[in-house]
Point group: C2
Chain length 455, copies 2
Amino acid sequence: MDALTQYLDQNRDRFVEDLKSVLRIPSVSAQPKHRDDMLRCANHLVEELKRIGMTRAEVRPTKGHPIVFAEWMGAPGKPTVLLYGHYDVQPPEPLELWTSPPFEPVVRDGVLRARGAVDDKGQVYMHLKALEGHFKVNGRLPVNLRVLIEGEEEVGSENLAAFLREHRAELDADVIVVSDSAMMGPDQPTLTYGLRGILYTQIEVVGPKHDLHSGHFGGAVQNPANALATIIAGLKDADGRITVPGFYDRVRAVPPAERAELNRIFDEKPYLAEAGAPAPFGEKGYTTAERITIRPTLDVNGTWSGYTGEGSKTVLPSFAAAKVSMRLVPDQDPADLFPRFEAHVKSLAPAGVTVKVLDLHSALPFLSDTTDPMLRAAVRALERSWTKKPVMAREGGSIPVMQTFQETHNVPCILIGFGLDDDQVHAPNEKFSLSSFHGGTRSIAYLYEELAKAP
Amino acid sequence: MDALTQYLDQNRDRFVEDLKSVLRIPSVSAQPKHRDDMLRCANHLVEELKRIGMTRAEVRPTKGHPIVFAEWMGAPGKPTVLLYGHYDVQPPEPLELWTSPPFEPVVRDGVLRARGAVDDKGQVYMHLKALEGHFKVNGRLPVNLRVLIEGEEEVGSENLAAFLREHRAELDADVIVVSDSAMMGPDQPTLTYGLRGILYTQIEVVGPKHDLHSGHFGGAVQNPANALATIIAGLKDADGRITVPGFYDRVRAVPPAERAELNRIFDEKPYLAEAGAPAPFGEKGYTTAERITIRPTLDVNGTWSGYTGEGSKTVLPSFAAAKVSMRLVPDQDPADLFPRFEAHVKSLAPAGVTVKVLDLHSALPFLSDTTDPMLRAAVRALERSWTKKPVMAREGGSIPVMQTFQETHNVPCILIGFGLDDDQVHAPNEKFSLSSFHGGTRSIAYLYEELAKAP
């Protein structure tokens, strides 16, 4: 065992304690009440980056939540890596479903449980600990490194693009590394080469000018909650296909060999068990593996209208709303689809209501060239760490910053993540397996070594 | 002007102040936090009933909120009237839409604004003030009277039926009087001879065992919010007809002359203006007047699922629910319809979700014989008070206790109310016109006189 591997092995428990410290900070970017916690979290990361040996570690303000920046440029002639991560987390609600408080991390049976455990603080910390290993053992890193940890990933990375464009020169890099994705199984190292894009909207339906008595008015005026149901029901047909005209026009055909490989590496049984779904359900003509990787989809993320409290209130609500998001695949473009979606929603609305559609956020789909030397370096690092051939996968989620990096850098992007499908990302009881955390930390340490050898 | 009319006239302002006192008590039966306020309100009414001259005024406990009872039996040989009202009110939410706090009554431009102003505290107080007039001017009432004011009308009168059956003897009466209905216009005295029944349900749709990440799982498992929309959209067809099999089987045909009269007395323009609806909307083949009186209907009263906060959360919710109520007409029966509705909802559910349907409360439709001598007495009282012929109307709302009275008493029921369509009943900014309150008080005072003359 080399000295680096040994260091990582011997410091495992302390690494977990360090991660717990940052998980205790409720850095929920969506909720204004946590604004101070966001800054506290950014400062905490800066201190940690300085401590391990990074130079120029600092909190950089934006119009929203601040960005954490750090660099170490002591490897002339070697590639420069831009590491991207995020320190913000999803809202923890509904709180009553957590088995332990979301911001009081606990380890039980080899699993660390807390909001942000895997998305993305835990994965950011794999990098910090891998870097610490290099600095401690070798006094240096094998490559040049720039670190960018943002605080708005969970709310659409609204200020990141401007930051990247404004500071393009000091953020220059030969390769971008992101650890915000998952493995195809507990011991299956995975390199993600595709992500779905997203178009996240809000549909607002307004009927009567105020809530009405459902006895006096029921049956005589349009009910916006009924109207919204009609709209949502009309967005997909019986085969699970989205009815927005032109929605599938730009969907790129996927070669049979690639489809076969995506199906081969996917295990449906644990996936459905994790979802707690009695059966798969989705677009006709595609497997579950395909439905979540190469096919677009549409989901209601939330809906609200009228009286939702205890008992029965005989109200005809004046307003109904739903958050509706679409996951997109190459070469769909949310900018092209939003106006089509908006027009279609309005066309589905029955008479007697006014409909507004808001574009809350969007991201282009992402697809990498799996033959690129940088990606091959990542494959080698994973194989060294897990003594197993990694699989090449697509993921159903979106990492909006990928679109921005394509525009600002246009260099290879390595998506090397160690989450698991049952990690309850974005849900109560988010967790991170310690075996993934430690295996991931070792893989990342090797990744920086392997990238040093890439052309 | 007789002495009674004069008394009522001279004490108008004090009557309004007395009403304000009871409106300040937040007697919201649906919300457990107001349990003490409910008892406080019942005690307040008992004190008021004692003060004006009623005997045996007392708070009578039930398994839920208490009932207020009082009587005065000093008119042997005269009919015994059972007055029914309710002191509980609807929840005031959403609070931010009130122009003044719901439990701080204010009078402005001849309008009293507060939760309960007209439904039903204001209308109960018309009776209390009419009775006070009789006691002050004549030292007695023209009829025997039993007063029953319940605290659970807005939550389905769950304990009233048992109370009525248990105390049937001491609640015996020749006629029942209820003031919980509306006039067809500000100066149009109205006797209501029909009410719609109700079947109020809750549909709960469960999909995955916990909330999922919409990127990782979207497209591969059934989304309960989408499924609920499909169910709701399927409950009515394009003509606004309810699709539950057999739903219309027992709907009684209404004679053309009665339909013509219902249309004649109905003014659609102010009705729609009040609703703030751009156009009428409802079942094909019927007018607005008919849609809210002689036709059943179905409305979503509330719906909730997933993330409903600020911004965007990419969650695939595990649960979605809606409160859905149907208004029923003679001779529909909620006991017959609930199992049909439940089976139909389940048949509309797409695969991959579990659906539960709850029966939250129900009431039979109500229809009076307009030629009954007791109802003719009420017509005379209204004509005396308003110097105008009253109209005979049907109302779209439900008063569940009517069904119980039919079963326990089977005597004529007089529905004599003075609300207006724009009183924002069950909505923010509930109000009662002082001209209606005073005209109503006078009408009620005359009603007790006219009932004394009925056989």
